[in-house]
Chain length 352, copies 3
């Protein structure tokens, strides 16, 4: 028996086929320990994910796992099967957070291949998967589509016909689920007086603060989610890579940018949907993340709550008040790290 | 609508007034996850905050949050409203830990302005606040006074008349509250044979060990307490500051120094009062903290327990056995980081 | 009263005697917070220590503390009394994990001196201790022997006659205890299709992945276990040491290497015995750990489960596929960090 056969080689483009289902290892029970670590690593301050009392007053079952934290966990499971041989993470779409994830819940992840397209160089291809997270009762807690560019094993290998899935630009506001009723909401304790009515479509918000990321921090965070992609951890191996050093997991950028967004969006902490996401440039240890947001849309949820569709832009080592985004030719401006489009619930001021 | 209006600008000197009450965001539920992280970040080994069994034998309800940990949490909440525009944290006084804080408790913070004094340069002023921490039942678990130098918004602004609050040099030993009965106390498990009777007023203790602080460690700790002062996190922004780099939150120094004090004060883990505190010089990543203590006073609590009033001095990159403190002119000696005056409960040897 | 007398000077060779029992401070309650941190610091993905549901299906009481994590905790307690003045940790033997350690359990550690031998230089000696970990009910959860070279206080001091304990090369497979029944085992969720029958004695497994260790990471991990040996924490003091910098605790290497071993041994997560262990060379921050394993032996446990005796070798900054181990003269090859011999339970494929 030869060595190395029992380690996981990951999947190459040829290993995927439309309709294929992948049951991912390792189920993970998320606990109050995970919540404390997520806060300590990201600076999360959204009140319903910080205080059990606040959460209950807002109509949640108690102190829940932040939805973006749960997203990283569900995503992390899929890495060994989907993106171990990925050249690039190309995008997210149609992400839906269906219900609160509570301490003690165990998350499992299953992915289905919904699209494939060989690239013209015949050395790589794009694979689309719909990834679903389930709790210990088999109930779906979230789902999202992502697509990645993966290496082919052999240039000559026969490949299935191109199939590109039809994906929505955004989850429709009418389909948002799992939001807190927000019957009671203490704006003082939440940290901001601004409610649903205060935000206007097109409004941009400068989140002002910056956060520098250290090697130890992104490694600890990425392992918390059991995402083991070696580019994040292996400094010795990365010396011979394109960047010559460890790359920070894009989820670290998402979570820190959203924690910074507290300063201006303190009441909009409950993420309900991920409409799109692009990691525009890589982040390395020692870089400082800043963020700004733009209100893209609004949706009515109930008498007490609405939702904001927000573009969260993370930038590196520059004033977020410059609102850097894209240049004239449609490319991302220098220093843009992340372009993240999501829906979040926010209480209404009316009727209180 | 202009950008940046929804982020918190913090309060300037003119925004405060005597008697003003500030309800601080974000309530925080502290859990066993916080306890594990606090231990891992500080090296805390005091037995009643490490073992549920030891805590119960000592007469506590169970494994409690270390009082200094809780102090950082209550303090952290006040930062966005009190010290976001602070030039300096000038001091603490009259801190009282009134009862054990247990996992599952949710801490809220409210501050009252109790003193104001414009500085002669008319660009800054000193604000005194009494900050109180409450649990989810509205019961006060601690209170303390701190004063900070904050910027004025405008040099010409009218200011209220000077009012300097009357503060005690120390909490009287007779007013100490919330201490464990210490009916049962296993000195072997606690890590030291020395009880109340063994310590003499004037005695100095060299805590011997040193601990070096990394950027990742102080950032993780400071976020654990939801203290978001940007000087601790934003390396890019700090390049143009006086020090050119990130400053470590003073609470990190307090907690690490007190963890080092275990080696010599292992039985004196339950802090009951904070009499005074001065951050004599800044700490930066890569520096090594050492500590020594002096017994300032003793107080009888019961047949089984007493209290020591201790001066905890943290020094940087030097032998704590030199007991560096102040020079002839009353200024702090080079390398002194912290001068922290507190009361801690300690079991008596008699009657066991 | 002179300074420094109340801090712990540790024990020197003369302080030990055969049969002496040492009750170690600080009992530690391990919680879900510890589990989250251990995962985040090591990358642990073994399913029965990640998912409460998986653990229960495997016949464990629930989400347990990883046995190697518990080993570090039990070990950590013994450091202030056994190895504070140690020149070197020489080895481990006869380690037995007797039962699962659950969140909420409080671990106490007691050691007995079972061997002593003065070295010919008369400046140091070797001390063997059997260290036992107990839970809050006084039930032994693990035991192991370790031996350390410690300094003598005085060269001329009289010493007891040499006594070298009789130690097994390995725990016999027939004496393994505390393993999960593994009636139900989902190989997909565990992350590997390979069971007991698939592994052959003599087989080597390349674990492929690498993990770089930062100063903050090893310090946080080592404090999590309350191991306070100053060589791991005091950069200022270490400047004048042989290496000129902080040494990483060997337990960090064990845990990270075993986490890397998931990639090839995903079903063999439950460690039952530690047969031997040598820290062949020191690890420093910035180094990258890789690992490979060799199957040394196999043992039948039940219809559903067997055990593999594994040699886990950690190497530094080199391809683990080269299987570096020892050179012709019996010395460890360059870059070998750890030689760790253990038994782990693994489900059988038959009868499912």
């Amino acid at each position: 028996m030869t060595a190395q056969t029992k380690s996981n080689p990951g999947n190459y483009f040829e290993d995927f086929s439309i309709g294929m289902e992948l049951v991912h290892a390792t189920p993970q029970t998320v606990t109050e320990g995970d919540i404390a670590l997520y806060r300590a690593l990201t600076g999360n301050r959204y009140a319903q994910y910080s205080s059990a009392e606040f959460a209950k007053a807002a109509g949640l079952p108690g102190l829940a796992i932040d939805p973006i934290h749960a997203f990283h966990v569900v995503f992390g499971k899929s890495v060994p099967d989907i993106s171990l041989n990925a050249v690039a993470n190309l995008g997210y779409a149609d992400g839906r957070i269906r219900r609160p994830i509570m301490p003690g819940d165990t998350l499992n992840t299953v992915s289905e291949v919904i699209g494939m397209k060989e690239n013209s160089n015949k050395r790589t291809g794009v694979v689309w998967v719909r990834t679903r997270g389930f709790n210990q009762n088999g109930i779906e807690v979230m789902s999202f589509v992502r697509w990645v560019m993966v290496n082919k094993w052999e240039e000559d290998a026969a490949v299935p016909p191109t199939h590109i899935p039809d994906l929505p630009d955004a989850v429709p506001g009418s389909e948002l689920e799992g939001f807190a009723p927000m019957e009671d909401w203490d704006f003082s304790l939440a940290g901001s007086p601004y409610g649903y009515e205060d935000y206007e479509i097109g409004e941009k918000i400068n989140h002002v603060d910056g956060m520098t990321v250290e090697e130890a921090e992104h490694q600890i965070a990425t392992r918390l989610y059991q995402n083991t992609a070696k580019v994040h951890f292996d400094a010795h191996g990365q010396k011979s890579s394109r960047f010559g050093k460890r790359l920070i997991y894009g989820g670290v950028v998402i979570s820190i940018a959203r924690s910074l967004a507290f300063n201006g969006l303190a009441n909009a902490g409950q993420v309900l949907a991920i409409n799109a996401g692009t990691h525009a440039s890589p982040l390395f240890a020692g870089d400082t993340i800043y963020a700004w947001s733009e209100v893209l849309d609004k949706a009515d949820l109930s008498d007490k709550a609405g939702a904001l569709r927000l573009r969260l832009v993370a930038v590196k080592d520059q004033d977020p008040g410059a609102f850097a985004y894209k240049t004239g030719d449609g490319k991302y401006a220098d220093g843009v790290l992340l372009d993240f489009d999501y829906w979040a619930a926010i209480p209404k001021l009316s009727g209180r």
